[in-house]
Symmetry: C2
Subunit: 445 residues, 2 copies
């Protein structure tokens, strides 16, 4: 779109009314045509994806990035299955949230409707483009997409296929728009008259930048500083297993645990075991002094002697900065707390309100943790890694929100709609009610 990003956003705004009134049959038909076309054109997609892969290898990009770029036939088939699943999900639009008679001839209906125009900026995974486009289409929102530049050739063909399918189904031209240059992001951020919501995905710094540089509401999260708290009533085996999974199952994810808090009553029993398992999984501990003391004592008890070389121990001192750091690496900070209230306080102060877990067999402690922790996900006896739209059964997610307004946690179709109040009367005027000639009777239907 080049300099015309704003014109494109204006066109999307105008077309958003047409998309909002497209029937669910039309929206599902567009998804079905897109699913078919994506499979029919798998050879073309593979060729374009190969261009991205070649460029990435030539540029010497790290292996994990190249791997994420790879959009082979298996991944394409999975992604198409996701689109077909979306067709089966019930329509998020037109749902009646409230139906209330204000008076005999005055009916109030609160009904869901699309947000309008949504800008989504996402990382270099070609499947992300398909998922996000499908979510926005199903929820009746015009989407303006900007994917990672490393996936440019893949994104372009995927966009073309989905766009063509939508047009064939009868959707308006600008139901989907693709931005290709980084400068267009800046332009997009200034389109507050046309764009209703920005959803940025990516690094903390990037998301923070977006949040700081736009008047448009932003939904998402920058940091993911998740905690596992081992309560005094914890089952030790569960604690170790949950911490290893929360930390290592996918170390670069936002729902990965960065800090372990341990109740002091159980610290001597759990910390040495934990260290052993973490060491076995190549995780380094940043430990507070009391944690270090317990580890030293355990080493002494095991006969290693106080003089055992630090390099074997794989621990480092923890500072307050550690508790504010999203390592995204094989590092975990560890701290002993006096009681569950200190754990809750620590999580609310140092955490990012994303997802935090307690390990406990005590129902009362779990209830206290559930009520006290101010996060989108509050877990008991399971891994923080479950915080994900797929794992919640949402079909797909556009992102995870750590904000408290609108949608919180993984955001699926329900988070992409708003509502309006429809009021139907028969010439009703407020003066009649204000002056006592008529009265409201409020009856929910």
């Amino acid at each position: 779109m080049g300099n015309s990003t704003m014109d494109g956003a204006r066109r999307a705004k105008i077309d958003s009314r047409l998309l909002a009134t497209a029937s669910v049959g039309t929206r599902n038909a567009a998804l079905a045509l897109a699913a078919d076309a994506l499979w029919d054109r798998r050879a073309d997609i593979a060729a374009e994806n190969e261009k991205d892969l070649k460029a990435a290898r030539e540029a010497g990009l790290p292996d994990p990035i190249v791997k994420r770029l790879d959009f082979g036939e298996k991944k394409l088939a999975d992604t198409i299955a996701g689109v077909r699943e979306m067709i089966g999900l019930s329509d998020p639009l037109g749902r009646v949230l409230l139906k209330r008679e204000l008076d005999a001839d005055l009916l109030l209906t609160q009904v869901t409707c699309p947000i309008g125009v949504i800008g989504v900026i996402f990382e270099s995974r070609p499947d992300a483009l398909v998922q996000i486009a499908s979510l926005c289409l199903k929820s009746g929102n015009c989407a303006i997409l900007k994917g990672g530049s490393e996936a440019q050739a893949s994104n372009r063909i995927l966009f073309e296929i989905i766009h063509e399918a939508g047009i064939r189904a009868g959707l308006p031209q600008s139901f989907l728009t693709l931005l290709e240059s980084r400068s267009e992001i800046t332009e997009l951020l200034s389109c507050h008259e046309s764009v209703d919501l920005i959803i940025p995905r990516g690094s903390n710094e990037f998301v923070r930048y977006i949040m700081d540089h736009s008047e448009i509401p932003v939904m998402g999260h920058s940091d993911g500083i998740c905690h596992v708290y081992v309560d005094k009533a914890a089952d030790l085996e569960k604690a170790v297993s949950i911490i290893i999974d929360s930390k290592t199952q996918y170390v670069a994810a936002c729902n990965t645990a960065e800090t372990v808090l341990v109740h002091e009553a159980i610290a001597k029993a759990v910390i040495p075991k934990l260290q052993e398992s973490l060491r076995g999984n190549n995780v380094r501990i940043h430990a507070t002094k009391p944690v270090q003391d317990i580890l030293a004592e355990a080493r002494d008890g095991a006969g290693a002697g106080a003089g055992a070389p630090a390099s074997n121990v794989r621990t480092a001192p923890a500072s307050e900065d550690d508790f504010r750091t999203e390592y995204l690496d094989y590092i975990v900070s560890m701290k002993i707390v006096e009681d569950i209230d200190e754990a809750i306080f620590h999580i609310n102060v140092f955490g990012s309100h994303h997802t935090d877990a307690i390990v406990t067999e005590d129902d009362e402690a779990a209830g206290r943790f559930f009520a006290g922790v101010d996060s989108a996900g509050v877990y008991r006896n399971c891994s923080t890694r479950f915080a994900d739209g797929y794992r919640y059964g949402f079909g797909a997610e556009v992102g995870i929100s750590t904000g408290k307004l609108h949608a919180r946690g993984p955001v699926g179709l329900d988070g992409l709609v708003t509502y309006k109040y429809l009021l139907e009367g028969n010439g009703n005027i407020v003066a009649d009610y204000a002056e006592g000639r008529r009265a409201f009777h409020f009856r929910d239907l």
Copy 2:
């Protein structure tokens, strides 16, 4: 609080966890104690209110402002009745929005909880303080209140009474905080680490200023540019009555109509009648050229002659600026549109997404208007003045939101809560699901 606004906000943040876990019994007890104490101390309240009234009269403030300040026994009794009604409303907290088994031993529950700390800045009506404090208390949110300085003495005693009642019921100290100086607003806007939401009420310029000067999410509205569209299938009598009510029932309200759009097929029939009624209600019309032509023709037909003096006509030309203006006065802009689509387009482009009405007997036209108009309230055959929390049966409102995220339209208790996802397992880890040893089965309970 002076320089310590930020400290106060921090204390509120800490206390918000205690308030969030206070039972509905405790919260209702606080409301009941407040209601009793407000009545018991009506003489003290009257004395403090008299101070504000005296100062306002001495400062020569306009009559409508003095009238709004007046908090006589009748108003106090009505306000207390509102507090008692709040006690009867069902608890907005702890409502289960979703309960889903992800696996046999992994249960997901989406449950409502308070937002946390809410800053509300409101106009000089003493009853507003009581209503807002009650809404925040019932919904478990710590409230930081700043009322209009003209009501300072009244606000202070009302705050003290409600605060004392809350403390006696066992609520934490900072469940309610009162700010008294204007400089504290600026400090409040910078408390993004402690304050979760700002709700500003007042003039457009003031709300716009708040929205532009805080990183904290803001809920509310600046402009209220509401429309009445007279469709070609309108009942003329209803159209005139609805327009008069929408424009004049309370001319300074945000839900008052500022622009009338008329379908060209009905323009010659409706516009002269409308002008007559508007003139009878002292409303001046800012009219486009085609509207002026019809009025001139009607004058000629009535034998007034083309040379009738303009001062009698009470119309002025309408410019594009008119359509972007919230007059808050006895002025309405008027325009003829070719069809319903032009009306919808005009409303979406020039309106403020607040409340817009169609007058029509045609169900298809109404459906098209409902779907196409992108506003919090979309009405058929009734006055725009119905857009109000009380009239929707919400009990009370903290404000009206024209944003599309979180709450839209009049915001009552439901708009003051968010939710969290609770996940309860038995040691469940993601690796088991990722590696195929276990599988989700998603069953809604």
